[in-house]
């Protein structure tokens, strides 16, 4: 029982980072309809930027916001100068994915040139632990979990309670009809890339803080988990991705604890496949709803 509870704690901490990243990924996909593989490389960039800034002694909150803003702008620019024109020239869904794969490889290469190919270790300034109800969290993990919860709550309010949120949902569902409602979809899409880029950046910093040692491949490795979480939750569903992130985090930690760390991914992805067989559209997609898009329910 002790092991189980402690593993649950690790799982929640790992899951929080996955959730944070996955929500950004899934919302980006839901609204812009681009399965953006470059998201992983942007996350690597965020992790390295976070690492550099944290080692300068900056506060973790400051670093999170600063890197979040940088990645937000980079993502919006990336969409404007690369993906939008590609789509405008008639690139289809698959070609766009290949485009983002290419961009991811290039960005990763640039990171290697700038930061070197070897792993870096982030000295744990947040090594203190906090315990309760049998769970033990490091302070860093607690910060990440609370940031995730706060950002999710904010996103929820944005999507359900604000005019912009409604416009985002409309744009994700049917862009032409959204325009026919008078919604300036170009702006909404820019805003979406800023917002999801921010989540990507925050998740990258969270990853740097919690992973301790990482290299240029961290984002692309992590992307698999985020895609799994998104698919599990029903692609385009922010709450689905959030729960999906927790499921992936917890199952992989349980797999590591009860079987072997070498198999933690195997366990997590077996569960993903089993879930897909049971609920092919993801856990949280309502019956009769069969399109990739953003929903607030």
């Amino acid at each position: 029982m002790g092991i189980f509870v402690q593993t649950l704690g690790f799982g929640i901490a790992a899951g929080a980072v996955i959730s944070l990243g996955a929500v950004g990924f899934t919302v980006q996909f839901g609204i812009s309809n681009v399965l953006n593989i470059t998201y992983g490389a942007f996350m690597t960039l965020a992790a390295f930027l976070g690492y550099v800034l944290l080692n300068r002694g900056l506060d973790v909150w400051v670093v999170l916001v600063a890197v979040g803003v940088v990645i937000a702008i980079a993502s919006a620019v990336f969409n404007r100068v690369f993906l939008s024109p590609l789509r405008g020239r008639g690139a289809g869904f698959v070609n766009l994915i290949i485009g983002t794969v290419a961009a991811a490889i290039i960005l990763q290469g640039v990171i290697v040139i700038a930061a070197g190919p070897s792993a870096v270790t982030y000295g744990q300034q947040y090594g203190k632990t906090v315990s309760g109800a049998g769970l033990v969290f490091s302070l860093a993990q607690l910060i990440i979990i609370s940031i995730t919860v706060a950002l999710m709550f904010g996103l929820h309010l944005l999507l359900t309670r604000t005019k912009v949120g409604r416009a985002m949902r409309a744009t994700s569902t049917n862009r032409t009809v959204a325009r026919a409602c008078g919604i300036r979809t170009e702006r909404i899409i820019d805003l979406t890339w800023l917002l999801t880029g921010f989540l990507c950046g925050a998740a990258g910093v969270a990853l740097a803080v919690t992973t301790v040692t990482f290299d240029f491949s961290i984002g692309s490795t992590f992307l698999i988990y985020m895609i799994a979480a998104s698919v599990l939750g029903g692609i385009g569903q922010p709450y689905g991705a959030m729960i999906g992130g927790l499921v992936v985090g917890i199952t992989s930690q349980l797999g590591a604890a009860y079987w072997s760390p070498a198999y933690q991914d195997v366990v997590a992805f077996c569960i993903l496949i089993a879930m897909l067989l049971i609920r092919p559209r993801g856990l949280f997609v309502a019956a009769g709803v069969n399109r990739r898009n953003l929903s607030a329910t």
């Binding site: 049917n174 009809v177 325009r179 026919a180 409602c181 919604i183 009769g288 709803v289 399109r291 898009n293």
Partner: protein
């Protein structure tokens, strides 16, 4: 010269010398067209004639090479769709015409995105007056509704902004034959009778022309004929235009 304006009130939408297409390919050439308040104007023509392209050019969805578009006398050439909507155009796209994953009332509310809350509520009442059937379905997901019901949601959504000009792209496409007449009559014609300027692109030329005031026959991207709908309908030559047969229903 006789033109569409003789059939009704003042001209709402006026297209002059419009040349448009995709990339650098011109599809429609020098189109002149006008729609006045209270009239139903149809654009008919064989497959590939450029009917949809013409609508998309008016709606800022494809490239306009030349010519002008005026709305209530103001130049709106190359305005993006969302801008045109703000200025009084309502657009009902061909097939993908609703927010499928939202409920009926959410579709209508989204249609009233530009409005304040009380106006939005009032407009929903007006839409329900026009489509009483929808009142029973307000909480249904549009994705689960029949083709005819969906079309009502699509048109209702477009009416939320209380547009002066309503543009339909093939409203009967994909509908059961039994619904064709009712969509054209109870929606397109009824809106014209309520004073809207209605522009309709239709494959089912016969059905559309019977209800229309004015017709433009588009052939290979040019207006081959602009006349009273009844005259086009009774002209034996027009049958030739449509695949060499009679004007089909």
């Amino acid at each position: 010269m006789a033109d569409a304006s003789e059939s009704g009130g003042k001209t709402a939408l006026e297209v002059e010398g419009l040349t448009a297409g995709y990339g650098d390919i011109e599809i429609v050439h020098g189109i002149d067209l006008s729609v006045s308040e209270g009239s139903l104007v149809s654009v008919v023509g064989p497959n590939g004639a450029g009917k949809s392209t013409l609508l998309k050019a008016i709606l800022g969805l494809v490239k306009v090479f030349d010519g002008s578009i005026r709305l209530d006398g103001h130049d709106v050439t190359r305005f993006p769709l969302e801008q045109l909507v703000r200025r009084g155009i309502g657009y009902v796209p061909q097939v993908d015409d609703v927010f499928e994953t939202l409920r009926v009332h959410e579709n209508l509310e989204m249609g009233g995105y530009l409005l304040d809350k009380p106006t939005r509520a009032r407009r929903i009442e007006e839409v329900l007056e026009f489509f009483p059937v929808l009142a029973e379905h307000m909480r249904r997901y549009v994705g689960t509704m029949s083709g005819g019901e969906r079309k009502m949601v699509a048109v209702g959504r477009a009416l939320m902004t209380s547009p002066r000009v309503v543009i339909f792209d093939e409203p009967t496409a994909g509908l059961a034959p039994t619904l064709v007449q009712s969509v054209l009559e109870d929606q397109a014609r009824a809106l014209a009778d309520r004073g809207k300027a209605v522009l309709l692109v239709e494959q089912r030329a016969h059905a559309a022309l019977q209800l229309s005031d004015w017709a433009y026959v588009l052939v290979q991207g040019r207006v081959a004929r602009s006349a009273r709908a009844a005259d086009v309908l009774s002209d034996p030559e027009m049958g030739e235009v449509f695949l060499g047969g009679a004007v089909k229903s």
